[in-house]
């Protein structure tokens, strides 16, 4: 009798195991068809206050330790930034003149403003990281006009990520530094095309750059306009060029101009007519 009930229990466990395995496979298939969009939206709605607190505490703690680790580096960077700031001030003055001139010509020719884009300001409600793949959740979704593929920027036009999933009230954003991030870029003023991929330690790698193109340290990279992403958004600055005489392409290490770390809110570019 006891043996029979044990066997029955064993059979029940095997049945449950197989049933759950089947459900797991079903979930994998279902997730391709957006079966989990609604449950995810509800889950984010419920847990976002808690996860926001944890994300905030996590990034603050990490910043605290990073400060001590990079103390020496920060001093050097500070000096370098002071110099760069002086250069930028003089460049800004020149650019202001150009903007005024451009605006005057535009009015004279009665031309439309090219930056006809809808921007959505969104708050970062939580951050998640699994196996070094960071994503952050913003509090705007399909209902607010946020859709998959749209650019997420830091004011005024510094690209920090791309919307990878849009739910009713929330959207997941993949930062440029995420190893799964991949966007097409151009070297500003040189029009050299390439692909930017995320790497460790907040560094990006520019790939698929033909060997005959002249890349140099300090070159600015901007996003290349595609079906999903708007163009001319600042991405990063070339820090190191990696040439390989035997290869067809060269690579470059790129420092992003901004990251999502420590940010509370971001801007989503919902549509643009570049």
């Amino acid at each position: 009798m006891r043996l029979k009930s044990k066997q029955q229990q064993k059979r029940k466990t095997v049945f449950w195991g197989l049933f759950l395995l089947f459900l797991s496979f079903g979930s994998i298939v279902g997730s391709y068809f957006g079966l989990f969009d609604k449950p995810k939206n509800i889950l984010y709605l419920i847990v976002s206050p808690v996860s926001r607190t944890f994300s905030f505490a996590g990034t603050k703690t990490a910043d605290f330790f990073q400060f001590f680790i990079n103390l020496k580096k920060i001093a050097q960077e500070n000096q370098w930034l002071r110099l760069e700031n002086l250069q930028l001030i003089s460049q800004t003055a020149q650019l202001n003149d150009l903007v005024r001139e451009n605006e005057f010509l535009r009015q004279a020719l009665n031309a439309e403003h090219p930056l006809n884009q809808k921007i959505i300001i969104a708050k970062i409600v939580s951050r998640y990281d699994l196996l070094g793949q960071e994503i952050f959740i913003i509090d705007k979704g399909i209902k607010n006009g946020v859709n998959k593929g749209q650019a997420v920027v830091l004011t005024p036009n510094i690209l920090i990520g791309q919307v990878v999933e849009s739910l009713d009230n929330f959207a997941s954003v993949r930062p440029l530094t995420n190893s799964r991030s991949q966007i097409q870029v151009l070297v500003k003023d040189k029009q050299i095309p390439g692909i930017i991929k995320g790497q460790e330690n907040n560094i990006l790698v520019m790939e698929m750059v033909p060997q005959d193109k002249e890349l140099s340290v300090g070159d600015l990279l901007v996003s290349s306009p595609t079906d999903q992403l708007v163009g001319d958004l600042l991405v990063g600055k070339v820090e190191q060029v990696l040439k390989n005489d035997l290869g067809v392409f060269q690579q470059a290490l790129v420092k992003p101009l901004a990251t999502s770390i420590g940010l509370d809110s971001v801007i989503v570019i919902a549509s643009a007519n570049f």
Partner: protein
């Protein structure tokens, strides 16, 4: 323990792992807390069915939070629980800290192996740097799981949680 409370604890631990520990520690030193919880419940309860259900839901929630393909972690957890339950029965392993460590090492290796296989089949499923630093990730993952897992084990024993 009430199922609702268990689900809440799992959600809380997942958020703690994905939103706090992931930002404080390097990615290869972030423990898989759910794995430790599942092993504790497998060792101290004989209700494999319940452990399988918790493993499934924890996996689904983990994937929903992390933006992965939903179902992958659930499948991994189920396979791990199946194997460990089989080992426990065949080798007549008694519950204790040594058994916990042994199971945790096996589970960590198996979980990493499943991710590695998944990356090979479908590269977009997981991190590029994880696959580049497989050794570091595996060693770091096991070490982190052992440290944090032992803490969970002690807490589990103290609280005498009856899942």
């Amino acid at each position: 323990m009430n199922i609702a409370i268990c689900v809440l604890i799992i959600i809380f631990l997942l958020i703690f792992q994905l939103s706090f520990l992931s930002f404080v520690l390097p990615f290869y030193l972030v423990p898989n807390i759910i794995l430790s919880i599942l092993i504790c419940s497998l060792l101290f309860t004989n209700q494999i069915k319940i452990v399988l259900i918790y493993g499934f839901f924890a996996g689904i929630l983990l994937d929903m939070f992390s933006g992965n393909i939903v179902g992958f972690s659930a499948l991994s957890f189920l396979l791990i629980i199946f194997l460990l339950a089989f080992l426990k029965r065949k080798l007549a392993i008694k519950s204790g800290l040594n058994a916990f460590w042994l199971f945790l090492i096996i589970a960590s290796l198996l979980y990493d192996l499943l991710i590695y296989v998944a990356i090979k089949i479908y590269p977009a499923i997981s991190s590029i740097h994880w696959s580049m630093h497989l050794g570091i990730a595996m060693f770091g993952g096991i070490l982190a799981n052992l440290i944090f897992g032992s803490l969970i084990y002690v807490l589990w024993r103290k609280m005498a949680v009856n899942v």
